[in-house]
Symmetry: C2
Subunit: 395 residues, 2 copies
């Protein structure tokens, strides 16, 4: 069978092979990108879905508008306001998870050969998603404060990309938080080079102590001409439930209209049943209290992992302790002749009964093979201590 | 803003303009393609979703496998068996409505410039979906017994299409049912020309009296070498609820694996919450009784519409009475100097307070402007009689 040429642009994931090993009994996994299901507000979602099917069974079960279910768009507008962004309900569309927002951006914007700048490292499924539309990805270097805006400017000037894709707040895999200063610089670059910036923000609400700087979208009100150059992707996956597959995209009207047309022929609309449930849930007002619990639990786990990594791996590993999100991004130093290749380390770790993801696949180019990603979200503190202990043996 | 070149391949729908008029108070609509929400088994779905959140809250709310939620795949395998097709659970993937199955077929199979044969007329969103991937669509003529297989063979031989897309059973918009003889012929053509056949089957269960012939997929067991050349798209939208967005695709392993990879970067997976609810619903065993009600109601409405059309419009219109599905496909004859252009007729009808969809947009090429589609699904018998009466005045 002759498949479409675009499939030649993507490889099956190296990570996938590793994930097959996760089924081994007794493995402690730091490999996933999942939230902890124990954090799901099952009672709240039961009430919300029952309300949806009692109060609005017709709309909740019928075909709906491609743009999204209006009561949910209204709720999401309110939710964005609590995060400091003024967004009218018709300035956003609901997507089937924020993965679909990425897909729609690719479908709407990328012609084969177009350049797109991403962080190095960035979300693996973004790399593959954009490459399926024929994008040539340019990798912009990051540090603990997110993308290096000086380097980013050089790359924008040189490559004139279709857009720049950033996960500025507790990014996957980097866990990094883009500083306020750099956020403003990104907005200035958008205007200076008339370049679209895609802000992917699934983790912004998962801060441990102080709230992060406002989103790039929120800050756009201070930089004249920048608002129309920001596309923002939000998601309920990490704060409520990934299984709902409810995300949203905010963009200027023309881009939003084109993305809506693309969505019409992608899946007609996002499940109205899931949308009505999400809408009812937000209406119940349970999210803030739920988020407070989630933040506290993840903060404890992150602190435990940081301390254990320092104790068990010492100078063999370096990392910046994240201030939110789900991930540690770390780098093997090779100190004392210890293993420096994260792929090799991953194999040894599996033998010791602990799993993580090597960092190389997260780079669109120039992979740093010494890097790795550790998720602290799904293991409790006891498991984290045990798992990091095994990492210590593996190294 | 510079959008992707692929957007130049599609037009915004002519139908969309018409739909804006549907908001007019008092309009009777035969325009939609929606099932009647009064047919939704709300109580059954309430029970099913409550069961999902009680018995399996973790999996129902967490990320899931791109291929689909395993209990649902098992249920769909059983469901296909009741329809005469032997399909193992791992021979199907769950899609976000069957619209996404079409999108994944486009993404997986179509390179720009590839040819795809569709029926003339065919489902509007299929035309746009495939064109977004750069397909050149070839239109195969149909009659009341579905696609004319002699013509289809000539087109396959001439154009060597990437695949042939058919809605063989109560198709949208044609309402036509492909005869058993022609189904077998299609399978022979698949083998003879080594051509993939896509069978889209959202309406097959909505028969009024006798069951239709087995699906092309089911019949493939009688034609050696044909099974791997059939991709089948199923959907719960017309038999249970469109709002769940639960469809599925059956195909040979390599195609299914490639489509799964494409889906991974399209929306990660279909809502596990919707999938678990659908799975629980099918497990409840309520679908057969529910379908019996739906068939009876739609059969009454179709009969009422047929009788009223003959009475009110006489020889100004010709049509074949459908044996299932949601649609009448009709053609203005111009007899007695009456209106022959369905676009013009639609405008006059709106003035009289009744809406339908002109047929021209359903053709990928060589549109017959005298055709129109009338849905009898959402209006009750009284409304149908009143609406067709208004059509009589409009003509």
């Amino acid at each position: 069978m002759q498949f479409a040429d675009r499939l030649n642009n993507v490889e099956t994931s190296a990570i996938r092979e590793l994930f097959k090993l996760l089924g081994k009994p007794g493995i402690i996994s730091f490999a996933g990108g999942f939230p902890d299901p124990a954090m799901f507000d099952v009672e709240g979602l039961k009430e919300a879905s029952a309300n949806a099917l009692t109060e609005e069974p017709g709309p909740a079960l019928q075909y709906g508008a491609t743009e999204g279910y209006q009561p949910l768009r209204d709720q999401l507008s309110t939710y964005m306001a609590t995060k400091g962004a003024t967004v009218a309900a018709n300035e956003l569309i609901v997507t089937t998870g924020s993965q679909q927002a990425l897909d729609l951006l690719g479908k709407t914007m990328i012609s084969p050969g177009d350049k797109v700048i991403v962080e190095g490292p960035t979300f693996l499924a973004t790399i593959q998603c954009f490459r399926l539309y024929g994008a040539e990805l340019i990798s912009a270097p990051i540090d603990a404060h997110g993308v290096k805006t000086d380097e980013l400017e050089k790359l924008i000037a040189e490559h004139k990309p279709k857009f720049v894709y950033l996960i500025p707040t507790f990014g996957n895999p980097s866990g990094a938080m883009l500083s306020l200063e750099r956020r403003k610089k990104v907005l200035e670059l958008a205007v200076k080079y008339n370049t679209l910036i895609v802000e992917d923000d699934p983790y912004g609400d998962l801060y441990f102590h102080a709230a992060p700087p406002p989103s790039i979208l929120s800050l756009s009100k201070d930089v004249p001409g920048s608002r129309d150059l920001i596309a923002y992707c939000g998601s309920l996956s990490k704060v409520l439930s990934p299984g709902l597959r409810v995300g949203w995209m905010i963009a200027q009207p023309e881009l939003l209209a084109k993305a809506t047309m693309c969505k019409q022929f992608s899946d007609a609309h996002t499940s109205t049943f899931a949308q009505a449930t999400a809408s009812q849930y937000l209406k119940l007002g349970r999210l803030p209290a739920q988020l407070a619990i989630v933040r506290k639990v993840y903060a404890e786990r992150a602190a435990a992992m940081a301390e254990a990594l320092r104790r068990e791996l010492g100078d063999a590993i370096e990392f910046t302790e994240p201030e939110g999100g789900l991930f540690f991004w770390a780098r093997l130093t090779g100190a004392g002749g210890k293993v420096k290749d994260a792929g090799e380390f991953a194999k040894r770790a599996i033998e010791q009964g602990v799993a993580f993801v090597p960092g190389a696949p997260f780079y669109a180019a120039d992979a740093d093979v010494a890097t790795l990603r550790l998720s602290f979200a799904t293991a409790d503190v006891g498991k984290i201590l045990e798992g990091v202990g095994r990492l210590g043996k593996a190294i």
